[in-house]
């Protein structure tokens, strides 16, 4: 309800970055009914924001009046909707509109930034003058007009979320509640949280590009609370994607519901594992959190151009076994982390970070790419018009390896399997990272034995990469609604992995003697 306050100091430690599953989406968006042919003079996005070529050119000229290497105008309009079902009824809705333009001027690694929610020429010019103050040089040549690039088609939808009424979502939420409750007599409460959003982005750049993108996002979450005797347990599951309403099929929802119920009920039998170092098997899918924390953040080039990442001097070096290949890829259709263009207007695509065990490429935005003398990797992202972009991940995963899941389990004499997660964090310079395991299993004598719960796991990025001794052939992306936080900015991401064995990690546990 209140405007976002400056809370970075209390929440994020130095040089650290966090991935979490918050209760709600932090914003995102959708596509209008027709695919936009953006190469028209009367760009529908320009009409949407009430801006024409001349106004954009005038603001760009003011923004770069004291010099610039690069500069951009980032127009954004996001309409989001949330619904809450608790105690059998949907009695709370929330909707939000976030609209504004961010103005950025960059000289070398220096950035001037301002934004305004008031899209009048006078307000935009005032913000442009404020942002331009970082520079002290002379006026640069600016475009008279901006050339629209072709729209991407990674998440085109036929029905925008704006056209899906509460009356359509209500029965789906009721279905989720009813189905979950029917699964076990011990289930006392079921809560369902719905989130969808339509986001429109238009980026005008100093080199004359006009990039537009419609970004849909939706997520359904179910929370299950069950009671046996004096003991209560809660579990949840969610699914999220850049999708439209019809994606939430009964089958897909039922899979989510069964996962939430299973995760909840197993906790009545689950124990805390013993504490200390042991082999850790990461189940396929959500365990991609390992890659996000152990290597992904450390490969973001803002840290590396400053020399503050543990990976700063490792490009070209062997960091893992030859069967380990780790990729960040934005052009995977409809994934939560997917992007047609990044938030600097560069085409987003595939970056191989580790290829056959060799460290290959960082994730670059324009500032770091210029410093390294290479093309940007399309990894410049921002939470909204209120923030300047920085290198971020999109969909991060490991490719298939030569082993099987069964071989991996059979290879462990005494260790654990990690299956579901709530959050993770990394210390960029030291390389220490953690993730919190909500559900998992003990492995004893090559066999899966008792269920476990609620343990934090901690390791060191480069050391853990070296200790990936087996990689199975069952890679998949997780469909959960992951959100990554860095320097106070949240962006949606995806992650995935095949079943892998890390030969040694430190497992939080109890019953220490």
């Amino acid at each position: 309800m209140t405007i976002k306050r400056r809370d970075f100091l209390s929440t994020v430690a130095a040089g650290s970055a966090i991935v979490t599953l918050p209760g709600f989406l932090s914003g995102c968006g959708v596509q209008t009914a027709t695919a936009i042919a953006s190469a028209t003079p009367e760009n529908p996005f320009m009409e949407w924001f009430g801006v024409d070529q001349a106004v954009a050119a005038r603001v760009m000229s003011e923004l770069t009046s004291r010099g610039a290497d690069t500069a951009d105008l980032y127009f954004q309009h996001t309409r989001s909707n949330h619904l809450t079902l608790e105690d059998g009824i949907v009695s709370k809705a929330n909707s939000g509109i976030e609209q504004g333009v961010g103005l950025r001027v960059v000289i070398g690694d220096q950035t001037g930034y301002a934004f305004t929610e008031d899209l009048t020429l006078a307000s935009m010019l005032a913000a442009a003058r404020t942002a331009s103050a970082i520079a002290s040089g002379s006026r640069v040549v600016t475009p008279q007009s901006f050339n629209p690039l072709e729209s991407g088609d990674l998440y085109t939808t036929s029905v925008p979320w704006a056209d899906v009424g509460v009356d359509q979502k209500l029965p789906v939420m009721k279905f989720i509640e009813r189905t979950a409750k029917s699964r076990d007599l011990a289930i006392e409460k079921v809560a369902v949280y719905w989130a969808d959003a339509d986001e429109r982005v238009m980026i005008a750049t100093l080199d004359g590009k006009l990039v537009t993108d419609h970004r849909p996002m939706a997520r359904a979450t179910v929370v299950v609370t069950a009671k046996k005797g004096d003991e209560t347990q809660t579990g949840y599951a969610n699914i999220a994607a850049r999708e439209e309403f019809s994606w939430f099929s009964e089958d897909r929802l039922t899979t989510m519901i069964d996962e939430a119920v299973d995760r909840t009920m197993i906790q009545f039998e689950a124990i805390r594992p013993p504490a200390g170092e042991m082999p850790v098997i990461l189940a396929s899918g959500a365990s991609g959190i390992l890659l996000h924390e152990a290597i992904g953040h450390g490969m973001e080039a803002d840290f590396n151009r400053k020399g503050t990442s543990i990976y700063s001097d490792m490009i070209g070096k062997k960091v893992a076994e030859p069967f380990v290949t780790v990729v960040d890829q934005a052009d995977i259709p409809r994934e939560r982390g997917a992007l047609n263009y990044d938030d600097e207007g560069n085409k987003a695509g595939r970056t191989v970070m580790v290829e056959n065990g060799i460290l290959k490429s960082y994730l670059h935005d324009q500032i770091s790419a210029a410093q390294y003398g290479i093309a940007p990797t399309g990894s410049g992202r921002r939470e909204s018009y209120q923030y300047s972009p920085m290198p971020r991940m999109s969909c991060t995963f490991m490719e298939d390896g030569p082993h099987t899941k069964d071989e991996i389990i059979a290879a462990v004499d005494h260790g654990i399997i990690c299956e579901t997660y709530t959050n993770g964090q990394v210390q960029i310079g030291a390389g220490d990272y953690t993730f919190y395991v909500k559900n998992g299993w003990l492995v004893e004598g090559g066999k899966v034995t008792a269920p476990i719960k609620d343990v934090n796991i901690i390791g060191n990025g480069p050391e853990s990469l070296k200790r990936i001794t087996m990689v199975a052939n069952d890679a998949r992306l997780d469909t959960g609604g992951w959100t990554c936080g860095k320097n106070g900015q949240s962006v949606p991401v995806s992650q995935g992995i095949p079943t892998v064995l890390v030969s040694n990690m430190t497992v939080g546990g109890e019953n220490v003697s």
């Binding site: 309800m1 040089g15 690694d109 990976y311 220490d432 609620d454 343990v455 060191n460 480069p462 430190t506």
Partner: protein
């Protein structure tokens, strides 16, 4: 300016009523925020913004919804509010959704909280640069420095809130923070990094920038050559600077929403001696210059001092009007303000000396807790406590247990309250904690 905001908020409430709402409440916010970041001898980032937004809560035909927008164009605002009312009508009725009753916003305190420093608006570019340079000078004056970023963050915010049943209030505050984040070359490819920032509503209360940077430097120097510590059951001393985060986890489910939803280990604890008698936590919204001080909460409930835990006995939970009605609990406030912990009479050094051997935690890394059961597991960094003194730096360790059990083993609290937080906690000493490491 506040009068102007109040007028705008009233207008939004009128729009909602005109569109068919039975009751409505609205808030308008405005803020200005300036960021200066300075790295390795040069200005790296300047961000200077003004922002605005409207939030509105709608009650119609026994139904409820809330909405917010940054688009205050009068024409579009009118359609936004009528759409908000239409969305509300599409929901299911809920007898517990009611506008905050008048008696809860009666007797609002008017004590001066002193949250505004008029000189913040006049901070010059030269002043911010001077702070940056003073911070940077200390941080870069070391052979192992790879990179150091100095930051200055200042600004102001104001808001006005009104409701259709007579609530009206305004808030205003300023802030100024600065500090440094430093990365040093460590063993192999490792970098040691840490930071220290100070802040407040008033510039005059801040320590010298060079002192702040020196603290950041001492913190990161103490991290050099850190190694994984042992798997051990030992005493844990939590530094006051990071105790607030642990208190936040403890209190996470201490509210009517979690209790009513069956997701709180606090459900049966009111009136019980649930924790060590060393634990006292008071929610105090009326602290002069407190980081979360206020005259009313986000529902308009008049601020008052609320004991949460006294001598280990649970006195109150955080109860908002909706979940309070649903759970049959009288409302206190649904959102925390400042949290004051009882202090002891010993310094950190005396606590460490009394403990003798154990682990001194100076920061957390990830981890989580289950609100329903209180089970937790957290990553930590810190130092071994050896012979009553701060020993070798350790990291890559976890601490694991149950929050209720942990706080029943709170053995000592210090006198060293960390001031730059809305949780005013001293250092905390716990007995018999499970650490995992080597």
């Amino acid at each position: 300016m506040s009068a102007d905001l109040t007028t705008q908020a009233l207008k939004a409430v009128e729009l909602a009523k005109a569109a068919g709402a039975d009751e409505a409440a609205a808030s308008i916010n405005q803020s200005r925020d300036v960021t200066f970041e300075y790295r390795d001898g040069a200005l790296e980032k300047v961000k200077d913004t003004t922002s605005q937004g409207l939030g509105i809560q709608v009650y119609a035909a026994g139904r409820y919804s809330s909405h917010q927008t940054t688009d205050l164009n009068p024409e579009r605002l009118t359609s936004f509010v009528s759409e908000a009312v239409a969305i509300t009508r599409a929901l299911e009725p809920d007898e517990f959704r009611q506008v905050t009753p008048e008696e809860l916003f009666a007797n609002r305190p008017d004590v001066d909280l002193d949250l505004v420093d008029a000189s913040v608006a006049d901070i010059s570019r030269e002043q911010r640069l001077a702070w940056c340079e003073a911070l940077d000078a200390v941080a870069t004056d070391h052979e192992k420095v790879i990179s150091a970023t100095a930051g200055v963050y200042d600004g102001s915010s104001q808001s006005a809130s009104v409701s259709s049943n007579g609530f009206s209030g305004t808030r205003q505050s300023t802030y100024c923070w600065y500090g440094s984040e430093i990365t040093l070359r460590d063993q192999g490819d490792k970098r040691a990094e840490d930071s220290f920032y100070v802040g407040g509503q008033h510039i005059e209360t801040l320590p010298e920038a060079s002192t702040v940077a020196s603290t950041a430097m001492q913190r990161v120097l103490s991290r050099l050559n850190a190694e994984k510590g042992p798997t051990v059951k030992a005493a844990m001393v939590v530094d006051s600077r990071v105790a607030g985060s642990l208190i936040g986890r403890l209190l996470g489910p201490a509210n009517a929403r979690r209790v009513q939803q069956g997701q709180s280990y606090w459900a049966e604890l009111v009136g019980e001696k649930a924790f060590s008698d060393k634990l006292t936590i008071i929610d105090d919204p009326l602290i002069k210059r407190g980081f979360s001080s206020r005259h009313y909460d986000n529902e308009g409930i008049s601020a008052k001092v609320i004991p949460i835990v006294e001598g280990g006995v649970v006195k109150n939970l955080y109860v908002d009007t909706y979940y309070g009605r649903k759970a049959g609990m009288a409302p206190t406030t649904g959102s925390s303000s400042n949290r004051r912990l009882a202090t002891g009479d010993k310094s950190l050094a005396e606590l460490l000396s009394d403990v003798g051997d154990g682990v001194y935690v100076t920061s957390w890394l990830g981890g989580n807790a289950d609100n329903t059961t209180g089970d937790f597991s957290l990553g930590i960094r810190g130092h071994m406590i050896e012979n009553g003194e701060i020993g070798r730096p350790v990291g890559e360790m976890n601490v694991t247990g149950n929050l209720r059990d942990l706080f029943s083993r709170l053995e000592m609290v210090g006198n060293d309250v960390y001031p730059y937080s809305s949780t005013l906690s001293p250092s905390l000493v716990f007995a018999g904690v499970d650490f995992s490491g080597v």
